[in-house]
């Protein structure tokens, strides 16, 4: 008997496949995020990566020295202000492809983490490099989420722009690092980033208050702890925002007289924290 209908068994199989497809799809996504497979690294690979990184770092340092030479050689502040460096020759942009390739060639090594750390700030400077930033963040979360050196990477995370990728990275590290000191650094950088724009200021403040409560003893940089650091940041959020009356300053002037900021009321005032170095 000839039949034109699909074989019932095949139909059943198709139905099952179709039903499973979306479930299977989302399941594999979850697996990728929650159960990453970090790169396994041998000692030889670690050494090779270190040697290559040191060589590249040396070339980068030399390029920076050369790039900034005109600024160093300027004799007066006027000369320095007049210098315009060519952004095309900026080592921060020039070395980006090479560093990115290095990070792909040496996954999981400590040297690669250093490269990824530099890539974050380089790729954050130009929106057209968003796709690089995305891959860099992915790689950090898969290969290095438990790495204690992640602290060096997130510690100054608030100096990068509050892009979706940077926020994602800091949130993930704050939630998932097993090291309290790394977590504290991530919470702090995240709080600073969110605190810097008006729409997210309230959340930023909450995070900084959490740092004050839970991570005050964690070292920030040199002698400073997060407890000391965050006190200033909370004061800034509460009293140094656009629209608030500037706090009073009373003290001695350079020429030895007592002066106070509020005596300048009635004029437009430019406050300039400066140093001639």
């Amino acid at each position: 008997m000839k039949t034109s209908t699909t074989h019932p068994f095949l139909l059943l199989k198709l139905t099952i496949l179709l039903c499973l497809a979306p479930i299977h799809g989302s399941a594999s996504t979850v697996v990728m995020l929650d159960d990453p497979a970090p790169a396994v690294v041998t000692k030889a690979q670690e050494t090779a990566a270190r040697v290559a990184m040191d060589k590249m770092q040396k070339r980068m340092d030399e390029a920076w020295t050369e790039y900034l030479a005109p600024l160093r050689e300027a004799k007066t502040a006027e000369e320095r202000d007049a210098i315009e460096l060519d952004p095309e020759k900026d080592p921060g942009a020039m070395f980006l492809p090479e560093l990115f390739k290095f990070s792909s060639d040496h996954p999981g090594t400590t040297a690669c983490l250093e490269a990824l750390s530099q890539l974050i700030s380089m790729a954050s400077r130009d929106e057209k490099n968003g796709w690089i930033l995305e891959q860099v963040v992915d790689r950090i979360l898969v290969d290095y989420i438990e790495h204690p050196d992640l602290k060096d990477l997130v510690r100054f995370g608030h100096y990068n722009p509050p892009s979706a990728q940077n926020l994602l990275l800091l949130r993930a590290v704050a939630d998932r690092s097993p090291h309290r000191s790394v977590q504290g650094s991530a919470f702090y950088a995240l709080g600073k980033l969110l605190g810097s724009s008006e729409e997210t200021r309230a959340e930023g403040k909450q995070l900084l208050e959490r740092v004050q409560k839970e991570f005050a003893d964690v070292p920030f940089f040199r002698e400073t702890t997060y407890g000391e650091k965050v006190a200033g940041d909370l004061f800034e959020l509460d009293h140094l925002q656009v629209g608030q009356v500037a706090p009073e300053i009373i003290g001695a002037s350079i020429d030895g007289n007592l002066m106070q900021l509020s005596a300048f009321r009635g004029k437009v005032v430019l406050i300039d924290f400066w140093g001639d170095w």
Binding site: K267, V268, I271
Partner: protein, 107 residues
């Protein structure tokens, strides 16, 4: 920054605009030298020596220069604006200052 600041002080009359510096030089001697060398005509607080002085600490300053632009009521209106952005911001506040004086004159 200094040439730009000097030009602003030159451009805007002293009853409308002033620069108030907070200096973080290590010593008062170095601060005095810096004032002379850069021909600064405006006044600066001396923050006790170094970048962790009481004023910079309270104002949570971590980079130099850091600037705040205040209106005539002492309200912070702009933070860390430089170059042409600073010129435009200052122009806005000076216009408001002038408008306020005109409004007072009509009373």
């Amino acid at each position: 920054m200094y040439p730009h600041e000097r030009s602003l002080v030159k451009k805007h009359p002293a009853d409308q605009f002033a620069i108030v510096g907070i200096n973080s030089e290590d010593t008062i001697e170095a601060a005095r030298e810096a004032v002379e060398k850069n021909k600064l005509t405006w006044k600066s607080f001396f923050d006790g020596g170094g970048t962790d002085g009481p004023i910079a600490t309270r104002w949570n300053v971590s980079g130099w220069p850091t600037t705040y632009l205040l209106d005539e009521h002492g309200v912070i209106r702009y933070k860390d604006v430089r170059g042409e952005t600073l010129d435009a911001a200052l122009e806005t506040l000076i216009d408001q200052w002038k408008a306020a004086r005109e409004a007072e004159a009509k009373l």
